[in-house]
């Protein structure tokens, strides 16, 4: 099935810079949706603010482009009202874990059925390169011109601790794995997190002397390793890729529905 049917061509060209990883994520997401065969009317895409959040405008689903960090809260209202809809929330790293950190952990804790795709480019790209909670210690940004002294979150560990029932990580280099993960995440009943390392050559790579988009993508190959690999034991600095959590837990909308059924029984 062609993914072109999911695109709102009227709204192109998109705003992303040359070499940006977000287009790869968009492609993988649409491939995943195409292979699942979900009807366009059954998908709601909710996003916040930032480069990543603009994804929602370009796709022909029900799309809700909201406030910075608040996408999961809007999405909760949509999902609780119409649980049969598939809710997908593309997010940036600052969007998800700085301004939206509170909503993120609480959506995970409730285990409400939606798919959060955290497109981690380690920077606020849209505003020109300020550090985010995922930039990392020692890196440079326009608001950390000497070096960043903020330590970063580990999206996977945070999601696990907060109670997400599906947690995975990969990169824009591993696009086939990414597509499979997004498919799994959409099918998973519960709160799913897919972290995608996505290059921002313009505002992160350039300032941190990482080369262009190609060099940054190649670094995803050398800096990551499958979960539990021997390479990880030899080099603990490697970032693990794969599915970290996939478990059956009571889903929030189903739990609420069961309360309604219980109290209205016999009345």
């Amino acid at each position: 099935m062609s993914i072109k049917q999911f695109i709102r061509e009227r709204f192109f060209p998109h705003i992303w810079c040359q070499g940006c990883g977000h287009g790869i994520v968009l492609n993988a997401m649409l491939q995943a949706i195409a292979s699942l065969g979900i009807s366009k009317n059954e998908i709601v895409m909710v996003s916040g603010i930032g480069c990543s959040a603009r994804i929602s405008g370009y796709v022909d689903f029900h799309t809700l482009h909201t406030l910075h960090g608040r996408a999961l809260a809007f999405a909760t209202g949509v999902k609780m009202s119409l649980p049969e809809l598939n809710v997908i929330v593309p997010m940036g790293d600052g969007d998800a874990l700085a301004i939206g950190g509170n909503h993120f952990i609480h959506a995970a804790r409730r285990n409400i059925d939606m798919t959060a795709i955290v497109m981690n480019n380690r920077i606020y790209g849209m505003t020109g390169g300020q550090f985010s909670p995922l930039t990392g210690y020692g890196m440079k940004a326009t608001t950390a011109p000497y070096k960043n002294i903020d330590h970063d979150f580990d999206t996977v560990e945070l999601s696990k601790a907060a109670g997400a029932s599906y947690v995975a990580r990969t990169t824009t280099y591993h696009v086939k794995q990414l597509t499979e993960m997004i498919k799994d995440a959409i099918l998973h009943e519960g709160f799913s997190v897919v972290e995608v390392l996505s290059q921002c050559p313009t505002n992160f790579g350039r300032r941190n002397k990482m080369g262009g988009a190609i060099e940054m993508m190649e670094s995803y190959k050398s800096l990551t390793t499958p979960i539990g690999s021997k390479a990880k034991q030899e080099n603990p600095d490697l970032i693990e890729r794969g599915v970290f959590v996939q478990k059956e837990l009571p889903e929030y909308c189903s739990e609420y529905r069961s309360i309604i059924e219980k109290i209205n029984k016999g009345t």
Binding site: F74, V78, K79, N102, T267
Partner: protein
């Protein structure tokens, strides 16, 4: 004929009325003095197959309400001053994206955490100007439980009619006071249901292209029309735009749809206004004491009249201009440092004859407080 009479708190009246109006989604965060609204809805909504969710904060609450409204549900949240401050971001979004919803603010003393259990009417200006950017807003209030029931239903009706958030400004006294209320029968009060688009699947539906009358027929998320909703300035498809002509058209639409309909939106009551030489203007719980003074003075033959405002925003300029033209003095009774009094002064024929009678110490303003101000104005000392 049996009547459904209840003796309940104002917060519970708000709950009864919102369910009467068709509420089926509530998201909120506990805060005094509004919490009873959440507690009652947590019990009642699941019984009615509706949705109640307690969110992680007030920001999330209003966002969830907006999301639910987009799926076609009548949605509400309730809070008090500190939570209302947090909701300003979402309120602006609902204005910009034209999402019908109701936001209840049971006012308490402020600023900041202020006086959690004491009364105030300090959020009148915040209701209009709390969120950034130019915009129009509808804010309603009531002074007794029977009125509160009708005004709450009105708030939902206006939200649907104008596709906009409506603020219901209650206060601690009305919220917590118990009073008798007659619950209207089904059908007794008119209800406005959402205007849905008649466009069929495959037709080019423009979610943000107003009809000639300014109204925007909606299509529910999850149904046949897929479109974009954004807080950015947007075109008729809901897609972001910074084209000056489009932005200008959008801004005028958002403001005109409310400000050009002030007469339809204004709710008020007036007492003894035909020959009044001293006019008390009040609203919410303060209007109870003002009314008491007016009734007592009338019995003594003094020509006092009163206007009780129930729509605070858009401010009913016409009402002040037309009904107060012959007033010798106007006294605005409110529980803040003077908020609505500024609007009255701007629009009264003689601004120098407009006075403020207020309390800001968390104590409910009494008829004696008002009588003392009247004595001073009339040159009779205290």
């Amino acid at each position: 004929m049996t009547q459904n009479i209840k003796f309940i708190q104002g917060n519970e009246v708000c709950v009864e009325a919102s369910l009467y109006a068709g509420l089926d989604f509530y998201a909120g965060y506990p805060i005094t003095p509004s919490t009873e609204i959440a507690e009652h809805l947590a019990k009642k909504l699941p019984q009615l197959n509706g949705t109640f969710i307690q969110m992680e904060d007030e920001i999330a609450s209003i966002c969830a309400v907006i999301g639910a409204s987009l799926t076609g549900h009548k949605a509400m949240t309730a809070t008090s001053g500190p939570g209302f401050s947090l909701m300003q971001e979402g309120l602006g979004y609902a204005i910009m994206a034209e999402i019908p919803c109701v936001i209840v603010d049971v006012q308490r003393g402020g600023p900041s955490t202020g006086l959690p259990t004491n009364v105030s009417q300090g959020d009148v200006f915040q209701a209009q100007w709390g969120t950034h950017g130019d915009h129009a807003i509808i804010a309603m209030t009531a002074s007794n439980h029977q009125d509160l029931f009708e005004i709450t239903v009105d708030a939902f009706n206006l939200a649907e009619t104008y596709r906009t958030p409506v603020i219901l400004l209650m206060d601690e006294v009305i919220g917590h006071m118990r009073e008798r209320v007659f619950i209207p029968k089904s059908g007794e009060l008119p209800l406005v249901e959402r205007l849905k688009t008649s466009f069929k699947s495959g037709e080019d539906y423009h979610p943000y292209l107003p009809r000639e009358d300014g109204r925007l027929p909606m299509s529910d998320f999850g149904s046949i029309h897929r479109y974009n909703v954004t807080g950015l300035a947007h075109d008729m498809w809901g897609f972001p735009s910074n084209n000056p002509a489009i932005v200008s058209g959008l801004m005028h639409h958002l403001i005109d749809k409310i400000n050009n309909n002030v007469h339809e939106i204004s709710r008020y009551k007036e007492y003894y206004m035909d020959d009044a030489s001293i006019v008390l203007i009040s609203y919410g719980c303060s209007a109870r004491s003002a009314r008491h003074v007016v009734e007592n003075r009338r019995k003594r033959g003094e020509k006092l009249g009163m206007i009780e405002l129930q729509t605070l925003w858009p401010f009913p300029v016409h009402l002040i201009r037309n009904r107060c033209a012959d007033a010798r003095y106007i006294v605005v009774v409110e529980q803040n440092m003077g908020q609505l009094v500024h609007l009255v002064k701007m629009n009264a024929p003689r601004p120098d004859k407009v006075f403020l009678c207020n309390r800001i110490d968390g104590v409910f303003i009494s008829p004696t407080d008002i009588r003392n101000v009247l004595r001073v104005i009339q040159g009779r000392g205290v």
